[in-house]
């Protein structure tokens, strides 16, 4: 993945996250059932976006790091 692609990915993911956790993106998740991992759906929804962001940021860092190591030092 190129540096540009990974920045677009991050931009898209965090924009989607901002929409998914506020009005109107959160409306479909504003419910109690189904329970996931014992949590009501709205609660799980919030936690899941954070958990996935760990993975997204990890990918971002791998690509950015490769780019920095290769071209600037």
């Amino acid at each position: 993945m190129s540096r540009k692609a990974v920045r677009v990915l991050a931009g898209v993911y965090f924009t989607a996250m901002a929409i998914a956790l506020t009005w109107p993106g959160m409306l479909p998740a504003a419910r109690i059932r189904p329970f996931v991992l014992g949590l009501p759906f709205g609660f799980f929804w919030g936690g899941a976006w954070i958990a996935v962001s760990v993975g997204v940021l990890y990918v971002v860092d791998r690509v950015e790091r490769r780019y920095r190591d290769g071209s600037t030092r």
Binding site: M17, W23, L37, P40, F43, V60, E64
Partner: protein, 492 residues
Amino acid sequence: MERWIVITLIIAAYLAVTLVIGLMAGRKATHSVAGYVAGDRSFGLLVMYFVTGATVFSSFAFLGGPGWAYSRGAASFYILAYGVLGMAPFYWVGPRIAEVGRRLGHVTQAQLITGRFPSRGLSALIALMSLIAFVPYVTIQIRGAGIVIEAVTDGHIPLWLGALVAYGIVIVYVLVSGVMAVGWTNTFQGIFMVAIAWILGIYLPYRLYGGVGPMFEQIAAARPELLVPPGLDAAGAPWSWGSYSTYILVSAVGLMMWPHLFMKAYTARDDDTLRRTVILFPTFQLFLIPVFLIGFAGVMFPATPPDPDSILPFMILRTQLPAFVVGLFCAGALSASMSTGDALLHASASVVVEDGILQFVSLDDRVQRMLMRVLVLLTGAAAYVLALNPGASLVQLLATAYGIVSQLAPPVLAALYWRRATTAGVVAGLLSGWATAGFFWHYPALKPFGMHEGILGLLVQVPVLVLVSLSTRRQDPAHLAGFFEEAGEARP
């Protein structure tokens, strides 16, 4: 031995360890302003991770979080939503701030802004507004510490005394060791609060309901309105989506604009450390999940606490836990309070001296450090007096302060990324943003859709900043070259 004495001894041991770590830490720093404020830019990944996490999550999260989950249900999810959104852009912005800071010798946020937009008045204004936002924030922390100690010792140690001892210790180590003490004590406190939150967050639902799922089944049957976002408002009526959404947005924008967090960019050893801190931050953030579980565990609890913010200590005391566990909980809550309070006190003193006073008089390094110490003492004393008066909910106080700090985001971004921005534009923008936020804070009934006053301020500020900048004279190219030199990303 009586129960409260055992608890008090554990708290005393915790406070003693904190004090020793804080005092030891300072011996490694140089006796300079850069050493006192930015730790000689020496923090490694472990310290940065816990400093950032422990500083972000305070009494607000540890006591206010369960308080909201308990009384307002799903409304508390807003606290879960904004942290990562606010932190992620720092992966790119943070190293850039640090690079400009190393080159031009910045240790505060206002120095970055006025390094690009030279104005003594602007610098002093930012220092003043930061201080206004800081005092209620410190007050929350001190009050949180006092509440916990009073509750778990059955009132044998009253709020005023508990808060005085805990913050007396904070002030001693901040005075002696500066930011190095904040760093190393926060590492210790961060580990502590995360561990306690996860243990109690899993343990309490099991002990009281037989599990997390069964707990929510019971709440869904008895009080379903609590579990549907956006939850309830302070009066118990359904909260508005406009309010819920803008609370998230203003907190995301404002999070890294808090001077005490922003200044962490100057303490990292190198850019990689800073970036990895951002990458790992969401793992720290997940500790809010058990924190909310603790609050939800209180919903079906037979007795009612005196006020929602004390649900955590209230329940802990009534679940027949061993005194040892109660003592540890208390230490966790104190960690949350003190790890933010120390950073706030330290940053407010640094900001007032560097950005306020030094703009108008020149002082040597030694006098500056002394003045900062005097200010740590004064701010702490002012917040302590305020903390003794019962006030609004912990979360509510902090949400209001976010309206002030979030207005600093456009000037910071303009300084780093928009060459056409001018000093007049930034000053006009900031003044209009603060005026708008202040107006709607004072007349909440006028807010459209119940939107947070900070977002309304930003909606006014951004166009004002852009229009005034475009209609005033472009900045001197030589000045821009000096500021941006090597500041851009290295190009292939």
